[in-house]
Symmetry: D2
C-alpha cells in the first residue's frame, strides 16, 4: 500500500476491504510522505522491518527484486500523486489497485492506459460502488434487454459534509486544493463515481455534456456543486453531485428508464433494486433473492436480509482484483465476473468527464464532447 497512514480515511477502508474475503495480506507499504512516520506506521501494521518503506520509488524497486514480492500495490494517496506512483509500480512489473480519479490530467490518464495496455498488467480502479451486487444486477438486466432501449438516465450523488468551510480538516483540505485534487472538487471526488456508475450500469457512453459548476462556500477554490446534462446517443441524462446538499449523507442514486422497463438503485439502501416492467407491478429485487443474476450472486457473501454494505461492495473490488492478479500470474483467463472490476478505461473516462465538465462550465454550459 502507498498512502493510508495516520489521519487518513480511505486507507483504512481499503485495508478492511482487502482483508474481508481473505485474499490479501498487507506485507509492505509506504504510508506517508514523511519517511520516519511511514516506517513507524508500517510497524504498527505489523510489517517486517525491511518492508516498511520510506518512499514509494524504493518500495517499487525493492519489491520488484524480492522472491516474495507483493502481488499488487494499492494506491490511496491524493489524486495528484496517483500517476507517478502507479507508473513506478507498473514499470517495476507490479499490478496496481488505484483510488479514483485516476489522475488529474488527461495526459497522465492516457499515459497509464498506454502502459497498462502495453504491459498487460492488471490495473484496478476502486470505483467501489460498481462492486455492489445490485449495481451489477442492474447492469446484467440492462445488458439482457429487460429495460429495452434506454431513454433516460438520472444519477445523483449528494453529500453535505462540505456545506461549511472546513479549512484545517485534512480530508477537506486536500480535496479542496486544485494542486492535490485536480481541477474538480465534488466533480472529481464524487461526480466521477456517479458518472462511472451510470456508464457501468447502462453500458452506454456519454457523448457530450453541458455543465454548470458552482462553489457555494466562500473562499472555496474548487466546485462543491455539479449540475450536468448528458447525451448518450438517443438517451438523455442528468447528473447532480453536491457536497453542500444539507441533510444528505452519501446519497448516490441511479435511475434508468427504457422503453420496456425502469430501475432505481440507491447506495444508502443497497440491498434492493426497484424494477418496473412497463405496465406491470413494481418489483423489489433483493440481493440473494429470487431472480438475481449470476453476476450479482458472484458479488454476494451472506443471504438476503443479512445486510451487506459499503465494505462488502469495496471488498468485491478487492476480491475481483485478486482473481485478476492470480489469473495474470497463472497466465490464464480470469473469471468473467471478476472482469467487471473497473480498470484503466474507467479511469480515462473519468478524467475526460472532469475535463469536459470544467470546459463546458467555463464556456457557459456549451455542449462539450467527452472524448
Amino acid at each position: 500500500m502507498v498512502g493510508g497512514g495516520e489521519g487518513a480515511f480511505i486507507g483504512g477502508v481499503h485495508r478492511m476491504a482487502a482483508r474481508l474475503d481473505g485474499h490479501w495480506d498487507l506485507v509492505a507499504g509506504n504510508f506517508q510522505s514523511d519517511p520516519a512516520k511511514s516506517i513507524a506506521f508500517g510497524k504498527t501494521m505489523g510489517l517486517a522491518d525491511d518492508r516498511a518503506y520510506a518512499d514509494f520509488r524504493t518500495m517499487a524497486e525493492s519489491e520488484a527484486k524480492r522472491a516474495d514480492r507483493i502481488d499488487a500495490v494499492s494506491i490511496v494517496t491524493p489524486n495528484s500523486t496517483h500517476h507517478a506512483i502507479a507508473r513506478a509500480f507498473l514499470d517495476a512489473g507490479i499490478a496496481v489497485i488505484c483510488d479514483k480519479p485516476m489522475t488529474i490530467t488527461r495526459k497522465h490518464a492516457d499515459d497509464l492506459a498506454e502502459v497498462v495496455i502495453r504491459t498487460g498488467l492488471p490495473f484496478i480502479l476502486t470505483h467501489n460502488y460498481s462492486g455492489y451486487p445490485m449495481a451489477r444486477q442492474a447492469r446484467a438486466m440492462i445488458a439482457a434487454g429487460e429495460l429495452g432501449a434506454i431513454r433516460i438516465v438520472q444519477v445523483e450523488y449528494a453529500q453535505d459534509w462540505l456545506a461549511t468551510d472546513l479549512s484545517g480538516n485534512k480530508q477537506a483540505d486536500w480535496r479542496s486544493d486544485p494542486a492535490k485534487a485536480g481541477p474538480g472538487g465534488a466533480l472529481g471526488d464524487i461526480a466521477t463515481h456517479a458518472f462511472q456508475l451510470a456508464e457501468f450500469v447502462t453500458g452506454l457512453q456519454a457523448q457530450s455534456i453541458s455543465a454548470d459548476l458552482s462553489a457555494f462556500v466562500p473562499g472555496r477554490k474548487v466546485d462543491d456543486n455539479v449540475n450536468v446534462l448528458l447525451r448518450f446517443g438517443e438517451a438523455r441524462g442528468m447528473l447532480w453531485a453536491s457536497q453542500v446538499a444539507t441533510g444528505s449523507v452519501n446519497g448516490l442514486k441511479l435511475r434508468v428508464f427504457g422503453d420496456k422497463g425502469g430501475i432505481e438503485w440507491a447506495q444508502e439502501t443497497p440491498e434492493t433494486l426497484l424494477f418496473t416492467p412497463l405496465g406491470q407491478q413494481q418489483r423489489i429485487i433483493r440481493r440473494g433473492g429470487a431472480g438475481v443474476s449470476p453476476s450479482a450472486t458472484h458479488a454476494t457473501r451472506v443471504p438476503g436480509g443479512h445486510p451487506e454494505g459499503y465494505l462488502e461492495g469495496f471488498a468485491q473490488i478487492y476480491a475481483d482484483a485478486a482473481e485478476l492478479v492470480r489469473a495474470h500470474l497463472e497466465k490464464r483467463a480470469p473469471n468473467a465476473f471478476a472482469k467487471l472490476a473497473p480498470g484503466v478505461a474507467d479511469g480515462v473516462r473519468g478524467v475526460k468527464f472532469i475535463e469536459a465538465a470544467v470546459a463546458s462550465s467555463k464556456n457557459n454550459g456549451a455542449w462539450t464532447p467527452v472524448d
Copy 2:
C-alpha cells in the same frame, strides 16, 4: 364550470375538490363543445334547465345578468381555449378558477394578467400541488429562514403513462397536439407544476434556464421528457419532467438545500416533510403534528396519521378560492393564508417558463431568461 363533460378526467376532480369542504355548489355549466351533449351532461349533474349552457359565451352573458349568478367559473378545458373563456367571464365581471397552464402564448397570458389587475377580480390557477399542507409548511420554513440562504433546488415530476404511443386516447391526444396543448407536452402538462412548486416553496424566481427537450415516442409532436438547468440568482437548480419514465406514476418531488438546512417533499407521500438542520438529526415533520406552521394547519382537515391526499390538496385551492371570492364580494381583505392560492402571476410565470424552455432547447441549450 366550463369543460369537464363526458370522458373528461380533470373536470370530475375539480367537482370533487369543490364539494369536499362544502364551499361550492355546481349550479351552471357548459361542459362540452357540442351544445346538445353539454346540455344533456348538465342535466345528469342536476342543473336547472336554463343553466346547462350550449356555449361558454352565452353562459358568461346569461350568468352575469342573473340575481343568483355564479360566484365563479371553473375552466377545465384544453389549454388553448383557456384564454378566450377566462376573458369572457372576466369581462362579464365573474371570478375565474382556471386549470394550468394558463394560456398557450405569452401574449394571452399578459392579457389575462392585465384584465385581472385592472378589474381586481379573483383569478385562481389550479396549481393544485401548492395546496398540500406540507408544501405550504416548506414555504413557511424557508420564508422564516430555517434553511438559511438557498443554494440548491432539485425538482422533478416523473410519470410513465405516455411511454408508448397512445393515439386514440382522448387525454393523450389533446395533450400531444400543439394546437390544443401549446408548444409544450410534458413541459406544459407537468413541468409547469414542478416549476411553480419550486418558485412557490422557495420564494425565489428563476432568472434563466438551459433546456434539453426530447420526444422519445416515435411520431410524438411535442416533448415527453424535459431536462432543465436553472439559475435563481446565486442558487442553482435542476428540473426534470418526464412522461416516459417507466415505472413512475405521479412522481412530483422537491428538494431544497440552504446553508442552514435542507428539506425534501414528495407528492406521492405528501403527509411528511423531511427536514435536516445543518449538523443535526433529520426530522420527519408530519401534517397535523408537532412544529407545523399555521399555514399548513390552515390547509388541514383531519389529524395526522389519517392520510390526506390529492383531492384534499386540490380542495384547498377551492377552499382558498371560496375565501378570495367571498372577501371580494364582501369588499374585505381575505384570510392571509387563502392568498397562498396560485393566481394570474403564477400563470404568467408558467407561460414564460414554457417559452424559455422551448427557445433554449431549440438553441442547443443556451441559457435563456425567464421574463
Copy 3:
C-alpha cells in the same frame, strides 16, 4: 345526523365523507344533547328550521312522517348511546349508518342485529378502514386463493395521543369513561377496527383469544394498551392496539401470511399493498395500477400516484351505503361491491371481541371464545 355538534371530531369527518362523492346531502339533524345548542348548530349547517331537532326521538318520529324524509341517519355519538338511537330510527323504518363500536353490551348488539334482520333495513357500521381500496384488494386476493391457506395474521393499531393524562379533553374524556365508551378503552376505540379489518381481509373468524389489557396512565379507568393472541382455526394471530405507543400516530397495519404468499398493508401509506408470492420477488401493488381487483377499482376515484387517503376510504363507506339504501328503496339487489360495506354482523363481532378480551384479561389470559 345524530351527534357531531360543536367540539366533536368524527361528526365533521362523516360530513366530509358523505359529501365527497355527491351521494348525500345533510338535511336534518340532532347534533348535541343540549336542545338549544343542537338547533343552533343545525342552523350553521344550513338546515331548514323544522329539521334541526332538539332530540333524536323527535327527529326519528318527525322524519318518518315526512314525504321528503331522510334516506338514512348517521349516528356519531359516544358508544353508549348508539343502541337507543339506532333502535329509534330502525323502528321508524329509517336506514342507519352508525359509528363503531356498535354498542357497549352484547345484549344491545344482538338486539340491533335482530331488528336489522327482521326489518331488512340497511345498517352500515363505519369501520371505515375497510373502505380503503387496498384493503379490499387484499381481501380479493385472499378470497381468490393467492395467499393459499392462511397461517399467520398480524394486526396492530398504534397511537400515542393518550400517552399522558388528558383529563379535560372532550375526545379523551368520553373515550376513557366506561359509562360512555363501554368496558374497553383502546379496545373499543381502535382494537375493534384492527379486529374487523383482520376478519374482513382474511375472511376468517377468530374462534378464541387470549388477552392482556393494561392501563398505563395513572388514574385511567379503561385499558390503553391491548395485547391479544388469536386463533382462527389452524391460523394463528396477534393483535396489538395501543394509545400510549409514543411516536405512533394512527398506525393500523395488517400482515397476512399463507402457504403461497404474504401481504402487508398499512393505513398510513394506504396506496400500496406489498405482496410476495412464495419464492418470488416482492411486488408493490398500487391503487389504480396493474393487477388491481375490480373491488378495489370500485373504491377508487383518481388515478394511482394521486394519493387517496382517509377521507376517501371513509367516503367509500358512505358511497356504498348510498347504493345499499337506494337499492333498498328501489327494491333491487345492490351492486355486489357495495355489500363490502361493514354492517350489523361486523358490529356484533366487535362487541363479542371486546367482551372476550375483557373476560380473558380478567382471567389471566385464559383462552376465551369469541362467540
Copy 4:
C-alpha cells in the same frame, strides 16, 4: 474454530467477521465430525498440519499445551453439542466464543455459567444483532432515560425460508431435529435473538411469558411460528418469531415505547434508528451522525451513509471478544464498551426463555416464569 466445515453456513460468517477488523487469525480447528474431512478442510484454510484436528477434545488438550496456543475457540456447531465443546475448552483454560442458543438444556446452561464464573474465563455468545451500532444506541438512550419509564416492548423476527418442507437441506434438517436443535425450532434459532435483543436494549428482564407455538409445515417436529406475550414488571410486550412468514427475509425488528419517548429499529435497515420524544417531531438517528452515543461510535467503522451491515455487526462481537480476551490475558479491566458483548448470562436467559415458552405453550398459554 470448532465446526464450520464444508456445507456449513454460519462458520464462514464467523470467519469473515473475525477477519474484518484484523484482531483474529484462524490458526487451529476441528471443522467437521469426520476426522479426515476435518483435517482436509483445515488445510484448505491454510492451517499448519498439526493444528487441523480430528476431534475437539484433542484440540482443546493440544492447544492448552502449546506456547502459541489459541487465544480463544469459536464454536459454530449444532446447538446440542455446544455444552460439551465449550466445557472442554473452558476446562483447558481457553476462552470461548459460542454460537447461540448456548445449550439445549437448562442444566447445561447453568453448568457453563458456573464454570465461567468460577474460572473468570471470557465467554462470548454470538447474539450478533446486539453488535449493531444502532442497537447499542437504543440501549444507551434507554439507559440514559430518554424514553422514560418503559411501557411497551414489541419485538419480532420473521423469516420464510422454512415455509415449505425442506427435508434434505442440511441447514434446515438439523434445525428441525430436536435432538440437535433442542426443543425449539424457530424458538431457539431466531426467537432467542429477538428475546436477547429486547432485554439487551431495554435493560429489563421478562418475568413471565405466555406462549402459543405452532408447527405449520406438515411433519415438522419443532415449532416454526412463535407467538408470545411478555411481562417485564410494569411493562408489557409481544414477541413474534416465524420461519414461515411468506415474503419475510430476516425481519428482526424492535420497538420500545416509554412515557417520554419511543424508538424503532429494524435489522434489515440497520443504519437508522427512529426516535420520537413525546409530543415532538420524529428524528432519524443515523449511525455516524449527529447525537450518536459513544457506545454506538465504538461499534462504527466507516462514516454514516456508507452502509455497515450484518458482517460488521457480527465483527463487532469478535472485536469486543478480542478486547475481552486481551484484557484477560493482560490482567486488566477491558474497555467498558467491549463488555456490551453478550455472554454466559445471556445464554442462560435464552435457555430459560426456550424452556418457559415450551412449557407455557404445552400448558395452553399459562403465564410461566422465565427464571
